[in-house]
Subunit: 332 residues, 2 copies
């Protein structure tokens, strides 16, 4: 059974998920093998024809006929939905059962297609699936935070090649999310504005880190980017949670997202990346001081001792330069 | 010139160090090449005979005769010592010149030796070099934090195979360090004790995550370990900064550290790892609520979208099991 544990000093939580894992001896170092993430299509549990290898879907788009998007419970979930959330003491340490919801968004029937190359309405359907599932999962009283993310490529932590994203919903709002909230409250109490709205306005004013733009969204390499080509997509209007996005905005976001992923794909030759949609915790969807956004992090550099120790990232490419490169890259 | 930049929302700092880096097109994805970190000895700037390839050392041990440890300014430093620390505004964003001190501790003349296999007094000399340089650098009024770290192996971010550690001293205490301090103050104000001392006592009482022990130090896999085999070495007595360690304790720590690194080396076949010594900020060396420690993180798993997005790490091996494995591993 998975378990949450809290670091007594820092108050950070971890998830112990031993059933996903292996024995210590499985971690003995071997020479880097060239492992492919491209599972054999016949064996791929996400490919059409193999639907019986996954649990009953929580969402299928379109709802009739051949599916494009299937959302299914994660078979190798780090958290389980049928557990209590009571915190318990282990001596003077805090723990809790590993309650949570973990789902996989299978984005497309085509095993070898990636989001950057899909049709616009297909990308829109993936984003709609995110929103619908986030909305539904948020109704669970025990859930406090929904994290949506995509790991692309082996170096970004994917084990399956078939295009997919993930949702993990936790009963816990971790310090990593809470601390920036506290800063945002301080900013709001001081200036009466959403710090994210202010940051976005300033980025638009300074212009040089903007990659692309639509009526409601902006994609940019942020002023304090932690790594080369780190990109963020923000809603220009104040919107604390991704659940509030409407159908028209979904299609606009689909265009901006595909544009950014396309520029990475063509400009950097399909790099490994992680992307994450960060929303306000459940219950804070209408707050005046938070703002959802999408962060796309090409997996190009390795955070080493200094980054892990200090949390200060060393970025060897100025975001102005990253943005210029991506701006100038043509998508086909 | 390197530059600090602050994320307006989260108050996290990054370092832009473009002179270390490359042009955007240098980051175009290529198939994983099997690159060795084993530089040719003849060309290795850290090997005996090539001392003229590094700047004048800031410390040599022993001070006469053949050197064992040489500390030199980092030639590819992300920060530079001759800059002002004044914060400046870029529109409404905060930045500062990249002032800081970056040094390399060359640990041994032997290009192919690693810390796990050195003689005890050699390990002791490396630790002494850390302490001496931290002490000296701390005298600089503009420095607020000294981070000592070691990246072992390519996957841990090393570019040079010759055994070495690094020191980076910054004028900034980042949120990553400040937040746990705030928690420690809350704990101190509530209970009147150092939260780290309490945590260490509890770990010793629970016993099952202890790897090894000496009079003054304990090595353990913490209750809320973020990844398999994550190990911490703590001083059993309250000590906020590594600079306070005395010569006798240095030799005891050398034994504990070599024991832990040896267990990783033999038990996991010389895995890639990062280790970090975290000390209280300069000026807080005598505080009652902080505690220096060493954290050793074998580079076995990849933090992916969920970890980056939530700060919640999924650990597939319980620290009790990691500790048992390391406890049972014989060092030769």
């Amino acid at each position: 059974m998975p378990e949450f544990r809290q670091n007594k000093a820092t108050k950070e939580w971890v998830i112990l998920a031993p059933e996903r894992g292996k024995r210590p001896s499985d971690f003995i170092n071997t020479e880097d093998k060239k492992e492919s993430t491209q599972t054999d299509k016949k064996k791929c549990p996400f490919c059409p024809g193999n639907e019986d290898q996954t649990d009953k879907p929580t969402l299928v788009i379109p709802s009739k006929g051949d599916w494009q998007v299937r959302v299914v419970p994660n078979k190798y979930a780090a958290l389980q939905p049928n557990l209590a959330t009571t915190r318990t003491w282990v001596g003077s340490f805090l723990a809790a059962k590993g309650f949570g919801i973990a789902e996989v968004i299978i984005e497309h029937p085509d095993h070898n297609l990636t989001l950057a190359l899909m049709e616009l309405d297909e990308v829109g359907n993936v984003l709609r699936a995110y929103r619908e599932r986030q909305k539904e999962i948020s109704k669970n009283d025990k859930i406090n935070l929904v994290t949506i993310f995509r790991n692309h490529g082996k170096r970004a932590g994917t084990s399956l090649g078939h295009p997919h994203s993930q949702i993990i919903a936790t009963p816990i709002v971790p310090p990593h999310v809470r601390y920036p909230m506290e800063k945002a409250v301080l900013h709001y109490d001081k200036l009466g504005t959403c710090v994210f709205c202010d940051m976005i306005d300033e980025e638009i004013r300074q212009e040089e880190r903007i990659i692309t733009n639509s009526d409601n969204f902006v994609a940019l390499c942020p002023f304090a980017a932690r790594s080369p080509f780190e990109t963020r997509i923000y809603s220009k209007k104040h919107m604390p949670s991704f659940v509030a996005i409407d159908d028209e905005e979904i299609m606009e976001l689909a265009w901006v997202l595909r544009e950014v992923l396309g520029k990475l794909y063509y400009g950097l030759n399909n790099p490994n990346y992680n992307y994450i949609i960060r929303s306000a915790p459940i219950g804070d969807e209408d707050t005046r001081y938070l703002h959802w956004y999408m962060v796309i992090i090409p997996k190009i550099t390795i955070p080493a001792g200094f980054e892990i120790g200090s949390g200060i990232y060393i970025n060897t490419i100025a975001p102005e330069e990253s943005a210029r490169f991506l701006r100038d890259t043509k998508t086909k």
